[in-house]
Amino acid sequence: MNYLEENLKRIAIGNPDIELLRNRYRPDYPEIKTAKDGSPVPVINKKSLHSSYNPASEAQKWVQNLGIEFNKDTLYVIGGLGFTYHLSELLKIVPAEQLVVIEKDTALAASALANRPSDVFPQGLRFIVGQTAARAHARLNEINRNNHDIVFLDHPASNNIYPDYYSAIKGIIRVQKTEKYGGYKVLLVSPMYGGSLPVTYCVQRALNSIGHRCELLDNTSFYPGFKHIQEVTTHKQHQNALNSMLTSLLAETVTARAVETQADLVLVIAQGPATAEVIEELRKADIRTAFWFVEDGSTLQYWKGIAPLFDGFFVIQKGEFFTQLKDAGCQHPYYLPMAADPAIHRPLELTPEEIAEFGSDLSHVGAGYHNRRDFFAGLLDFDFKIWGSDWEKAGPLSHIIQRDGERIPTEDTIKIFNASKINVNLHSSTYHSGVNPFGDFLNPRTYEIAACGAFQLVDERRYLAENFEVGTEVVTFNSLQDMRDLAREYLEKPEERAEIAAASRQRVLKEHTFEHRLRELMGVIAGRYPEWKPKGGGLPTAEELIRAAGEDSEMVAVMERFIGKGPLTLEDVAADIEKGEGEFTRTEAMILLLNEFRRWGLEKGVM
């Protein structure tokens, strides 16, 4: 008997993902075997999701082993739906309203709904199905409006099939718990120059904003030195040798700073310095490492040497690139697409002068890549402005290149996005004319235009549909003719443009901000390394110290200044005492002594 329709109806309320399952049911997947006691048991990749003897008794043992002490202020999350035997057992001690089930595999979930009777799906039970780890976590936060403590319960057989997925969610939950208490200390390593530099600053803001302590190791000051090297010699071998020494020097500063600041994680953004020796040293110092390769892996190849060394290597491409990464020894690459920072890319009220300056029917902000030069020549009959550098000044586009091809500062870029009726977002390619038929990842501009609440026509990209709903959030073209037709159509429909633009902005705010990405990145590392805890974890707050001090009025006097400032490190408190005036109290002197001792330990290398 097929229970699918009945169950879908039963649990539709409060579970938006469930409706998706209607079309995901496949009678041939997963394979279903019958256990010795007659119960149906799904099998995926030859791995059985429940006992092939007695699933119910296995579930009983599972619950016993969890040793749950039920708490009405806790939200219990099960990682994996399976065929619900463990869920039924858990429902005996936890009410449905306090339970959330996360399942990655939509076809498996549909099969469970089809094969299990409706009494195993009580009303009030929440499901998060078929979402990415980050989205699943975002949904979980929506469900957990009362900020209950979240306890994640592993269903080992499900975890066995999608270990990266469940470990990431578990990690994100764990990391989020630390955010209230000062989070992790992250040393963020910037490149010397280039396109990933703005990304670095967004990452810094995002990490600090979600509650971690991010310090930027800014390498831009080395850029003049780097340029100098390129000018010193034209001999390639010498240049390479000098560049590699510069990289080693920069990488060494990473270790020095990471150890000094007791970092929990060193996060390097694409083009930032990294050497095998330094990563090894960081590992010995119990510091985790991550790299966000916000580049096209097929164009730039430097990932090959470093990808396997990092604890987390995050990329904006999947598929073929994952295979290449695994071949190069990087066992667990993680797909982490670009994002936008809504504090920067935002809707603006523009003055008539600004609209006149920055506005046009069509616009493009970006560098003059080969494919864009060709393509944009076919749009010259539109009111079209091109902003940015590296455009041929003598070519057919010359009269529409703005500001003589200068680089456009971010603040002006935002005005252009806001003022343009249609932002033409053609991803760059050095090899193709016009639209790159193999284009996969999304450029930052896609998210930025959307975050501005601006309308864009974007070329078709393989990953677009999983980031935005095509047609309602963004509109795509696949050829020049297509682009021209759409431009004409949408120039006539200002209301539809506004509606689509607003929807794309909502999507960014909900799923594609740097905060979402960094939460996911931190969660992936935490999921992979269950022992990874903030070194500053357990730092006291002023409130706690005042409570603990009781009658000790000196301690209360010291700590009053820190009320509301969150977790306190010894350095913070000592620095504040040193700034003060008058003679030190005994408590102040003791804190200073401890800090001096800490400094001494650092100096002697015994910390």
Binding site: G538, L539, L568, F584, L593, L594, F597, W600
Partner: protein, 534 residues
């Protein structure tokens, strides 16, 4: 009656070198308590000082754990410091002598209330306060170590600031003594030489094979037995030294605790080793010591504090080298020969004062009438600075009873340096005059015109001795060199000396006397950077 607390959070060697200062304080305490705060692992050593009435352990590991940013600073950390200070408060010290140079020890002094602090403490505004001239001296050493002629033991005694007198020998506890007797039983009735082959830095440790050759020479040329001591970390090196000699060479590396080690040393007839804790224990136990000073180690600073102890330094220009410990070609190791060490050792064992040698610099520790330890014996060119300072410190102290404030100090240094310069010039003038009397014109009763003046001058300024030695060579020895060459040599030496004096003058004119860096605020609030040095 006066209660004192000595804060000596030092390593083994330095702690042992603070013992005479503690004896001085104990005498001055007039029946009061003398508490000694030391690192936890050195408590048993501290207990061996008979003048110490209470040993207060300082648990650095607990504090390190507490400050490793785990939030424990507010719990474990403050609790520990609180308990430590309570313990000291019970003692109610009138005087704190802080022999530790670290900032946190100064903070500790600011928490404990005492009438007087000597050594480093904390000023009311949280800055560094250096109490007393010798503390200031101690703190300027970092930048001028190559000029320092004052032994660390004397420095500690000066900082403690009480009258010097005879100091106590450490007392070996009976059980450690029994342990040593048992270990040494097979070697009974024969002279025992203890070899301390380890040190805190590989550059300061003589090569194991050279030690081995030394052992071979000692065993073949005497009836003595040899005991190789060290920590468990020295085991590998010690096996190279000790293997194959049978019962006459005992290797006890890593088999004793520190007190048992002291007990073994106490039963030996001679200690040979590097500038390390065990060697200073030997010196304090009044054992004949033969110290080998390699790389950064300098006999001027840490020669064994015992009359007659011998220090050997290599005859290489780069010794002593920088504290960085980054030498990649330690030629000083090969510059000292096992034959010299064995020869000197066997002489010492027989109670004979060993002869000077050509292949290394040999010096003998001398301390008279409560004065500061002085090194006698050969003088290296690089000793000039130290010798000049040794004299100037004495001259200034003699005239002023104490170190003057830096501003006066600068004027006095300058005066002394001018004086020294003019005396050098006069001396050279006379020397050259003396040389110009040709040998063949000298009668049998030739009387050197400088015979009286030079010893008197050298008694005041031993730094001039190099100059004098050159002159003496030329006047006494019948060299084949022409008179011009000999005069040229003396003039060269004079120039060198004058250059050195000129340098010192320059420093004093810049308002910075190198040995008393005036940029540091002193106990009485004087800050030389704001002073009116003209």
């Amino acid at each position: 009656m006066r209660n004192s607390l000595v804060i000596a959070l030092l390593r083994l060697g330095d702690l042992v070198q603070s013992f005479p200062a503690i004896s001085d304080l104990s005498r001055a305490a007039d029946g009061g308590e003398v508490a000694l705060m030391v690192q936890q692992d050195l408590v048993p050593i501290a207990r061996m000082h008979p003048g110490v009435t209470q040993v207060i352990p300082f648990d650095g590991d607990t504090l390190l754990n507490a400050t490793r940013a785990k939030g424990e600073w507010s719990r474990q950390g403050l609790t520990y410091v609180n308990e430590l200070c309570d313990l000291v408060d019970e003692l109610n010290p009138d005087l704190i002598v802080n022999l530790t140079h670290t900032a946190f020890s100064a903070n500790l002094c600011s928490i404990i209330k005492a009438e007087e602090v000597r050594g480093r403490s904390l000023a009311k505004d949280g800055g560094t306060q250096l109490n007393g001239d010798w503390t200031r001296y101690f703190f300027t050493l970092m930048s001028s170590r190559s000029s320092n002629p004052v032994n660390l033991v004397d420095l500690f005694r000066e900082i403690a600031g009480v009258n010097k007198g005879p100091y106590d020998k450490p007392v070996i506890p009976p059980d450690a003594s029994r342990f040593a007797a048992q270990i040494l039983q097979p070697l009974a009735d024969k002279p025992i030489i203890v070899l301390g082959i380890g040190s805190n830095h590989p550059l300061r440790s003589w090569d194991s094979n050279l030690w081995r050759t030394t052992v071979e020479l000692l065993l073949n040329n005497s009836e003595c037995s040899v005991i190789v001591i060290g920590s468990a970390g020295d085991r590998e090196a010690s096996n190279i030294v000790s293997d194959g000699w049978g019962e006459r060479c005992l290797n006890i590396c890593g088999e004793t605790d520190l007190v048992q080690l002291a007990a073994v040393i106490d039963r030996c007839d001679l200690f040979i080793g590097h500038d390390t804790g065990p060697m200073h224990i030997a010196a304090m136990l009044d054992k004949p010591c033969l110290g080998i000073y390699l790389a950064m180690a300098s006999a001027w600073e840490t020669a064994p504090y015992r009359n007659g102890a011998v220090s050997i330094e290599p005859n290489v220009d780069c010794h002593p080298c920088s504290e960085q410990g980054d030498c990649t070609d330690p030629i000083c190791h090969q510059a000292i020969s096992p034959f010299s060490i064995a020869d000197i050792a066997l002489n010492m064992l027989n109670g004979v004062v060993p002869d000077q040698r050509d292949d290394c610099t040999m010096r003998v520790s001398r301390q008279k009438d409560g004065g500061r330890l002085r090194l006698e014996g050969s003088i290296k060119a690089s000793d000039q600075n130290r010798l000049i300072w040794f004299d100037l410190i004495d001259v200034v102290l003699e005239r002023n009873n104490r170190f003057p404030k830096p501003v006066q100090c600068t004027a006095i240094w300058r005066h002394e340096l001018t004086q020294l310069k003019s005396e050098v010039l006069q001396l050279v003038h006379k020397m050259i005059g003396g040389l110009q009397i040709p040998y063949n014109n000298r009668s049998n009763d030739f009387h050197d015109p400088l015979a009286v003046e030079i010893p008197a001058l050298i008694a005041r300024y031993p730094g001039l001795r190099l100059l004098f030695d050159l002159y003496r060579l030329d006047t006494i020895c019948h060299e084949t060199q022409g008179i011009e060459v000999r005069i040229e040599n003396i003039v060269k030496a004079q120039e060198k000396l004058l250059r050195r004096i000129a340098n010192l003058q320059k420093i004093s004119e810049q308002g910075r006397v190198s040995m008393l860096d005036t940029s540091i605020q002193t106990a009485d609030g004087f800050n030389a950077s704001k002073s009116e040095i003209t």
